[in-house]
């Protein structure tokens, strides 16, 4: 089957092995060691790592469209946030009458705004299956409509980047409004439980971390399967010579739309896993700056490699946590400096460095063709 094809690739096996080993190690260090032990991983750190992993999944989604399809989306934060809001709405409904105002149905902010009933688009979010479906459908639908209009009119390159940026900015402004019914400026917060598990308990937090890690693994395999399929090669063809691809008989806009929608759905899943771990979702996730930052992670890690996106997201966010703790004012300079350094010295990102190593080592041994693996 095309979906399991990447499981036979060495690089994917290596990636999954490292990821799963890291998950197991963190879990073990968190559960078995006493809190005083120097190697103990605190639940705070576990949650932080879980947040990084959800960012990594978002970065993989961005790399899929940017690296392999050549579409620089500066609005993927919008899909991430939509997935997050879908999850947030479910978590809000789970609060029930435990909110400050004790209303059995209405979330606190609606009581505060004197609303007397749920808006129609909040209906159904008390059912987890519906909410989780919306995590995929809401970003997917936005990407479908947006992509259909953009790709059909053959908007590409810088222009597409700009309108994706405009899209996320417009959504941010819309979600800021109280009348939208998504909590306005404050967003959705004060979550209590997810599927009956208390969100403040250590076990739930560890579970969310593991779930995010598994989601990243699955997302990686899906992207890798797409990239290694003939469709992936058509995507690269669209990226490098769009007109020529069209002339070969491929409907370029449909391929772009397909990959774009898949990527948006992955971003939505990342957002949905992010929200319960940070405990809040508000319109700042729609901010254009955030979407640009995601692109920076991918660029730093190495474009068109997928694992590079993961490395970039983890490294930059770790650095961000450290820097904003030590010298909060210097973070943006450090990020800018890092970006300049990488573009000047490592045009292919950190993954380019790894690639070089591997190539040098395998240069002596017999080189197996890349397409050979896809045969079986």
């Amino acid at each position: 089957m095309w979906l399991t094809r990447p499981l036979r690739e060495r690089s994917t096996q290596l990636f999954l092995g490292i990821l799963l080993a890291a998950l197991a190690l963190v879990t073990l260090l968190n559960l078995t060691l006493p809190a005083a032990h120097p190697l103990h991983v605190s639940t705070y750190t576990v949650t932080l790592l879980g947040k990084y992993l959800s960012y990594a999944l978002l970065a993989v989604a961005v790399d899929l469209v940017w690296g392999y399809l050549g579409i620089l989306s500066l609005g993927h934060g919008a899909f991430f946030a939509l997935g997050g809001y879908a999850m947030g709405m479910y978590l809000m409904r789970q609060i029930g009458d435990r909110g400050t105002y004790g209303d059995p149905v209405l979330p606190d902010f609606m009581v505060f705004l004197n609303w007397d009933s749920l808006p129609w688009y909040w209906l159904g979010f008390d059912m987890p299956w519906f909410a989780f479906l919306m995590v995929l459908l809401a970003p997917g639908l936005l990407a479908l409509v947006f992509g259909f209009l953009a790709f059909r009119s053959r908007v590409t390159g810088v222009y597409l980047s700009i309108i994706t940026q405009a899209m996320t900015f417009a959504l941010m402004l819309a979600f800021f409004r109280n009348e939208m019914g998504f909590g306005g400026n404050n967003g959705l917060t004060d979550f209590k439980e997810l599927l009956g598990f208390d969100l403040r308990s250590d076990a739930t937090r560890l579970g969310l971390f593991i779930a995010t890690g598994i989601a990243l693994a699955l997302g990686y395999v899906v992207c890798r399967a797409i990239v290694a399929s003939k469709l992936g090669r058509v995507s690269v063809a669209c990226r490098d010579a769009e007109a020529r691809t069209r002339f070969l008989g491929y409907r370029v806009e449909r391929f772009q739309l397909f990959v774009f929608v898949v990527s948006a759905m992955l971003a939505g899943v990342a957002g949905a896993l992010y929200v319960p771990q940070v405990g809040i979702i508000n319109p700042s996730e729609f901010s254009p700056i955030f979407s640009i930052e995601v692109v920076l992670w991918v660029a730093l890690g190495g474009r068109a490699t997928l694992y590079g996106a993961v490395i970039g997201a983890l490294l930059v966010n770790y650095a961000k946590t450290v820097f904003t703790g030590v010298m909060p004012d210097a973070w943006l300079f450090a990020l800018g400096g890092l970006f300049v350094l990488v573009t000047v010295f490592l045009p292919k990102g950190i993954a380019g460095l790894l690639d070089l190593r591997i190539k040098r080592r395998s240069a002596t041994s017999d080189s197996t063709p890349a397409t050979g693996e896809a045969t079986a």
């Binding site: 399929s229 469709l231 690269v236 490098d240 010579a241 002339f247 070969l248 008989g249």
Partner: protein
């Protein structure tokens, strides 16, 4: 009443009943047939009463000075330009003027443009794979597998274009001439019946030119492809052509073997200039 009557006619086959993708009918000889084709752009007659017949399996060179209408003729055959008047038939079944570009391409008319465009990030092998005639919708492409049959077909074309050794290297490292061959290979993967090749040897070295001549003459043949080449390089045309058509001001000036054509005084005048020595250049 008339409509009913015409529907009841048994001796008539309606056009819409003939599937577009039906195989080309060459029982009567010609694979491509242009009759009295004219097209003008803003009053300028680019093609003027052009008549041209290409036989099945033929290798034909078309020469002519700049502005003779060579590229416009290619555009008309591939459906990019619609003529004002005239008829264009592919075999004796397909009226090309009723079809659009992708339909014409899927009938088996492949065109190679002057400037080679290959997918540089993909390997030579993958370039051929993408070019292959296959179901090109999303899901079939996503689940497509590289079967032994497809592999054999690609290997066969690789051998034809002489790039077997380089098949797993990226197409970006190929030389200009090798890229041209890869492009021809990509056309062959679509199993065309008629190949339209625009200036295949522009910018090639002497050896590459020889290799291209071998490749193109090897392609043409009964039951294989018919090849139409537009070329400026007279030495190249002389080395491969069996029949040469000279275009001038949108219509055929002379047709026949290279020797016959190049001794025609009208051809010498319009194409080779007053000085016959230029011919050798």
């Amino acid at each position: 009443m008339n409509i009913l009557k015409s529907l009841a006619d048994r001796d008539r086959v309606f056009d819409f009943l003939v599937p577009v993708a039906s195989p080309v009918d060459v029982r009567h000889g010609p694979i491509l047939y242009l009759e009295d084709v004219s097209v003008s752009f803003d009053g300028f007659k680019a093609i003027n009463d052009l008549n041209l017949t290409i036989d099945d399996g033929e290798l034909r060179c078309i020469i002519g000075p700049n502005g003779a209408g060579k590229t416009t003729m290619m555009d008309i055959i591939t459906g990019k330009t619609r003529p004002d008047t005239g008829q264009v038939w592919f075999g004796s079944r397909h009226d090309l003027l009723t079809l659009n570009e992708p339909q014409i391409a899927s009938l088996g008319i492949g065109r190679k443009f002057q400037k080679p465009t290959v997918f540089e990030a993909l390997s030579v092998f993958e370039n051929l794979e993408l070019a292959m005639a296959a179901d090109k919708r999303i899901l079939p492409t996503l689940t497509a597998r590289l079967t032994g049959e497809i592999r054999d077909r690609i290997e066969e074309v690789l051998a034809t274009i002489g790039l077997t050794e380089l098949r797993y290297g990226p197409a970006g490292i190929l030389s200009h001439g090798q890229k041209q061959w890869l492009e021809i290979g990509m056309l062959l993967m679509q199993r065309p019946r008629l190949l339209l090749v625009d200036e295949p040897v522009a910018g090639m070295t002497e050896q590459e030119m020889e290799r291209t001549a071998e490749l193109l003459t090897g392609l043409a043949g009964k039951g294989k492809q018919s090849v139409v080449i537009v070329e400026h390089d007279m030495g190249f045309v002389r080395s491969i052509a069996r029949t040469v058509t000279v275009l001038h001001q949108g219509s055929v000036l002379a047709e026949g073997s290279m020797d016959k054509v190049s001794s025609d005084p009208r051809v010498v005048e319009v194409y080779l200039g007053a000085d016959p020595d230029v011919e050798a250049a």
